[in-house]
Symmetry: C2
DNA sequence: ATTAGCACTCGCGGCTACTGAGTGCTAACA
DNA sequence: TGTTAGCACTCAGTAGCCGCGAGTGCTAAT
């Protein structure tokens, strides 16, 4: 167990290192305002803290640096819960004015978040199990091409253009779309695939000639592969962090950021509330010396999406956590309003 | 003027440097197959070439490196026009299979292009002066929210969700959409604004109550700010180039790539055909030691879009130029087919 | 006109010395 | 017994030096 004094010292070290990015030594600590102990005392305590795994040295005669365990303890116990509360209203102002496009707001939030922190922000769009299909449109551009448009109750629009093989009659297409609109109205997006394969298939068989082809075409057009949308802000902002002085690090970071699926998998299974993953706690290797802070924003009862900040382990946890709190609440509120309007 | 031999030597130096990224010395050149001269002779010629500004030294006793002028000459005169013709069909295979979504194809082309070259590819979406509005849809999500959807003849879909102030009657909205569909069918996107301000305004005044508000809402919803879309491939691919060993360079590159407008302005005013900008020839400071190779793809008579590769000055010009030729032709063909279908 | 030869230049990798920040430990102190 | 002063030690970082090698420019010979 840690003594009061050790806690104090750990706190000071983490704070200092977060700010300066330099290993912190005993003398520097003993000089601080609220530290009445001598450098030697500090050294003894630091040795203890290191023994217990909360601190590390970068080399045998360097100052101390927090270990992952140290950060973990700091995040769990040493952050004054209320302290440093970010003064509200980060994104609300953007929503105030009449127009209100969901995707735009999310994208802007991501950018603001990144700008405010110099980390990279990631927002996972609304999960779809609360999102329902509102309407299906098929607009033919010509005899052989058409655009299928799906609109959800959240205002999200998904579209795919495709070419129509000559074998398919336009009357059949029309009929199909009618069927779709009838059967799929207010169906949660997530259940789309299922319904497609059962009900719709059955129904269409009755009405539509040359069923097989038409069906497959529509199906492919309507079931998109990426059910969640990813918004990333300030990919390059993070380059301002001093830990990015190594070209290899940059390379591996950016190659990871190019892989959408990987990022999504990172964020997918998040609990409600704020969640911090430090270093190797992250399941993806590529960010094993990053920290990832996630929060969720909600709509009604169901969890909707995830909002996250990715930065070095040496992260301004206090600031980021309260900021993320504020923003996710703001987004929840905004969506709540939106939802109410649409019901 | 340059002698035959000087041309040969210049060519060899540029080729060699492009491949190796190391300054090339006289001895290395004299050893090559098709060089029957001694190192000393080469040295004399190199001194001449340097005097005339085609070569540079990195320091007083280093080998030679092509200067911007050297690259320029190389590109203009030393690239065998037909040589190294890239064996066709880079993206055609992707288009073959039934589905055919324009945006997907462009995005994939960008990625393929970057993967093939290890440079960053940029594709400017179709310019809109050939693109015509096909249909306008207004889908109301609820009493107070709606999605406006515009579909163009190229299959591009633009959408905006907005909230409807209580003052506006839904019957008015409906009427407006009808007017829009009637008047705007087949109108080039570029003329949208103009027509909006004259004809539509006049027409709507006659039919719609509370004209001013409704009008402004629709106008804002329908006139998007970004008339061209940007597709970027392999932003991080370019990190494999050895010139990116400097963190500052990376930083400035990525911060530039975040500014869409800047990139668009880079590519906007391109002639037909292939165009090469080397180093300071580029108007944007941030890429003053990059080369940018652009080509255009077309639809019918009008130029449609630009396709570009951004890399170090030490670029594989031969390969890139022929590759870009092939790809832009392929895209032109693809769009031509598409266009024919839609007419 | 070409080439061989030679002196010279300069970047670079390796070695050494020095400095300064920081530690661990011991012994003295309250 | 907890705290502190003192001291020897460690190590990263920097500067200076040396020698190597790749390359040049120039001169003189072919």
């Amino acid at each position: 167990m840690l003594t009061e004094r050790q806690l104090l010292i750990l706190q000071v070290i983490v704070d200092d290192f977060i700010e300066s990015a330099h290993p912190v030594g005993s003398r520097a600590i003993s000089k601080k305002e609220d530290i009445p102990y001598s450098a030697a005392t500090i050294r003894n305590e630091m040795a203890d803290l290191e023994e217990q795994g909360y601190l590390e040295k970068t080399h045998s005669s360097s100052g101390r640096v927090p270990s992952e365990k140290g950060y973990r303890y700091y995040v769990d116990h040493l952050i004054s819960p209320s302290g440093h509360a970010h003064n509200g209203d980060v994104i609300s102002p953007m929503i105030k004015d009449g127009f209100f496009e969901f995707e735009q707001i999310v994208q802007m939030s991501a950018e603001v978040l990144s700008e405010l922190t110099n980390y990279t922000s990631i927002i996972l769009g609304p999960e779809l199990f609360e999102t329902k299909l509102k309407q299906v449109q098929l607009i033919t551009l010509s005899a052989h091409t058409a655009v299928a448009i799906l609109v959800t109750n959240t205002g999200h629009v998904e579209h795919r253009s495709f070419s129509i093989p000559v074998e398919i009659k336009s009357s059949d297409l029309e009929r199909m779309v009618n069927i779709l609109n009838e059967r799929l109205h207010d169906v949660p997006i997530l259940k789309l695939q299922e319904i497609f394969n059962t009900e719709i298939a059955a129904m269409m068989k009755m009405y539509v000639e040359d069923f097989d082809r038409s069906y497959n075409y529509l199906k492919a057009a309507f079931l998109s592969d990426h059910p969640v949308k990813l918004y990333i802000g300030g990919k390059s902002n993070i380059l301002r962090q001093p830990e990015f002085n190594d070209v290899d690090k940059i390379r591996s970071f950016f190659t990871m950021m190019d892989k959408e699926e990987e990022i999504i998998s990172l964020l997918k299974h998040t609990d409600h509330g704020i969640n911090v993953s430090i270093g190797k706690e992250n399941e993806v290797d590529a960010i094993k010396d990053f920290s990832l802070i996630t929060s969720s924003y909600q709509l009604g009862d169901g969890q909707l999406g995830t909002i996250a900040l990715l930065g070095p382990m040496r992260m301004e946890y206090k600031k980021v956590i309260s900021l993320l709190n504020v923003v996710s609440n703001e987004m929840t509120d905004a969506l709540h309003m939106w939802y109410k309007n649409n019901e």
